[in-house]
């Protein structure tokens, strides 16, 4: 059982790390601000989400596990809102860049 849980952690944390990599590659390679925003939100939601889900079996306590998931939910709410705000800033041209 413990080996299975460890496998779960290894697979999910690795997958989360891959999404962080994808977020960085997108942030660096995509041509404009709006597409980069798209890459960023993947790291926010999936990268952190998979890391959190992977870590849940390792913390040894239901309450702590719930707190871990709460961290992820908070990041999803604020990440989604900030993505909207940034997108509007870019679109309305308040941003001095191309």
């Amino acid at each position: 059982m413990s080996a299975l849980l460890d496998l779960w952690t290894v697979v999910l944390v690795s997958a989360g790390a891959v999404f962080y990599l994808a977020g960085t590659v997108g942030l660096l390679r995509f041509p404009d601000a709006l597409t980069r925003l798209h890459a960023l939100t993947k790291a926010d939601n999936l990268g952190l989400g998979l890391v959190v889900l992977g870590l849940v079996p390792q913390v040894g306590g239901v309450i702590i596990g719930i707190k871990l998931v709460a961290v992820w939910l908070l990041v999803m709410v604020s990440g989604a809102c900030v993505a909207q705000l940034i997108a509007r800033l870019v679109r309305h041209g308040s941003d001095p860049a191309p």
């Binding site: 990268g47 870590l55 913390v59 707190k67 871990l68 961290v71 990440g79 509007r88 941003d95």
Partner: protein
């Protein structure tokens, strides 16, 4: 297990640190802010990983604080860039 999680932490740290190149290059405020945002999310994952490796649940409170305030820099930028200021005659 601790070895693997520390390795994952190293990987994520390096990856989001490379993302900071966008902070250096810009070109716009939004691009730089996005690099900070990515580093912020990455830091939360790193805090959680360190917390599990060192078996200290108090670290989750640090992650909770970071997560709660993750939106702050973005809100501050949007607010400051869109506020119409009255003419500054205080000087």
């Amino acid at each position: 297990m601790a070895e693997f999680l520390t390795g994952a932490a190293c990987f994520i740290l390096l990856v989001v640190a490379v993302g900071l190149v966008r902070l250096l290059r810009g070109p716009g405020d939004a691009d730089r802010l996005m690099a900070v945002q990515l580093l912020g999310t990455g830091s939360i994952a790193l805090v959680l990983l360190i917390g599990v490796v060192s078996a200290s649940p108090a670290l989750i409170d640090v992650a909770l604080t970071l997560a709660l305030l993750a939106a702050f820099a973005g809100v501050a930028l949007v607010r400051a860039s869109t506020t119409r200021r009255p003419p500054d005659n205080s000087q």
